[in-house]
């Protein structure tokens, strides 16, 4: 069972809960694979387990952290998304990872949009960034779909990443940007729903 204090977030297709011991297997297979090359991996099994434990400890230290993303219907794990702020990070980050088999269904878009809104609404953040390896095309693309923009002035973790700054809470409140994200998610749920003017990958 996840930590009782970690809030549960529901979206149309997903339920996000604190990371639990039984959710670990696909985290390990992702972090010990080539898939994790932009997230500090691939790691050994030992390093992967230590990182998973640290993801849980992060919640206790900061009161926020990475949620485990579950399929609302099957409860299967799909990846993780949330706030990430370990020592050494210049500022708070919205981070994500999606298991390889889950890619291409808009799960990261739906989950990251939900956790970003949660952090803005419940933690009172007025800004947040994502640190992205510029070679990680899927993440760069996701940043753009989420309305985040390159912030060349912001300090990066090291020279290997670029900083995307997310839209502020005000820029997401009842705006065209927020509607666009919701419509893109709707298109994944119902592919026959094709709103005009929404870029679909």
């Amino acid at each position: 069972m996840p930590h009782a204090d970690i809030p549960v977030i529901q979206t149309e297709r997903l339920v996000l809960r604190g990371p639990a011991p039984e959710d670990y297997p696909k985290f390990e297979s992702t972090f010990t694979s080539y898939r994790s090359r932009f997230m500090g991996g691939p790691l050994s099994e030992y390093e992967s387990w230590m990182l998973y434990a640290a993801e849980i400890g992060h919640w206790q230290i900061h009161g926020f952290g990475m949620w485990m993303i579950h399929d609302r219907e099957t409860d299967a794990t799909m990846g993780m998304a949330g706030g990430w702020f370990p020592k050494g990070w210049p500022e708070r980050e919205i981070a994500w990872m999606i298991w390889p088999a889950v890619e291409g269904r808009g799960v990261a878009l739906e989950a990251v949009h939900a956790v970003r809104s949660w952090c803005y609404d419940h933690l009172g953040w007025d800004t947040v960034v994502s640190y992205v390896d510029p070679k990680n095309v899927s993440s760069v693309r996701l940043c753009e779909r989420l309305g985040a923009r390159l912030d060349p002035q912001a300090e990066s973790i090291d020279s290997h990443d670029v900083v995307y700054r997310h839209p502020s809470p005000a820029q997401l409140r009842g705006t065209q940007l927020a509607d666009g994200i919701a419509m893109e998610v709707r298109n994944y749920i119902d592919p026959l729903f094709k709103p005009k003017g929404v870029p679909l990958d």
Partner: protein
Amino acid sequence: MTAIPTIDTARLILRAPGPQDFPAMRAFYASDRSRFVGGPKDAEGAWRQLATEIGHWALCGYGRWIVEDKATGTVCGIVGLWNPEGWPEPEIGWDLFDGFEGRGYATEAAEAARAHAYETLGWRTVISLVDPANRASARVAERLCARPDGEFTHAVFGTVIVYRHPVPEVCL
């Protein structure tokens, strides 16, 4: 998550690790004292280690406690039950921070952790892994009546000596 119990011994308090323990962890991992336990680590590495110590409790239902010197309230080490992925079996581990050696604190805290493993968790056996060059740690194992029981080789820690503790009937 399992509530982390607090244990009271003659001179020490064993309590849950928390954010307030970061300075002590950073100092320990910055020092040469951490060379047998994966250090030295920079501040970022020490922070992740602290987060991992907390998460270990959630993943396993047991873990390591921050040890406080009762008289002064000072944090003097991190001791407890440790079993990350790839470990040969659950162990009792002890890291004593600078300035607290030579008082039997590691032994006293490890004895309390062992009692918790046997009495509360119902374990029938437990080991401690000791780097062959870490004489101070081997002496703690010996004072706890643990005896060498083979070797274990780990990708990060190399080959270490497995000390096996006496069974519950002998310890309790």
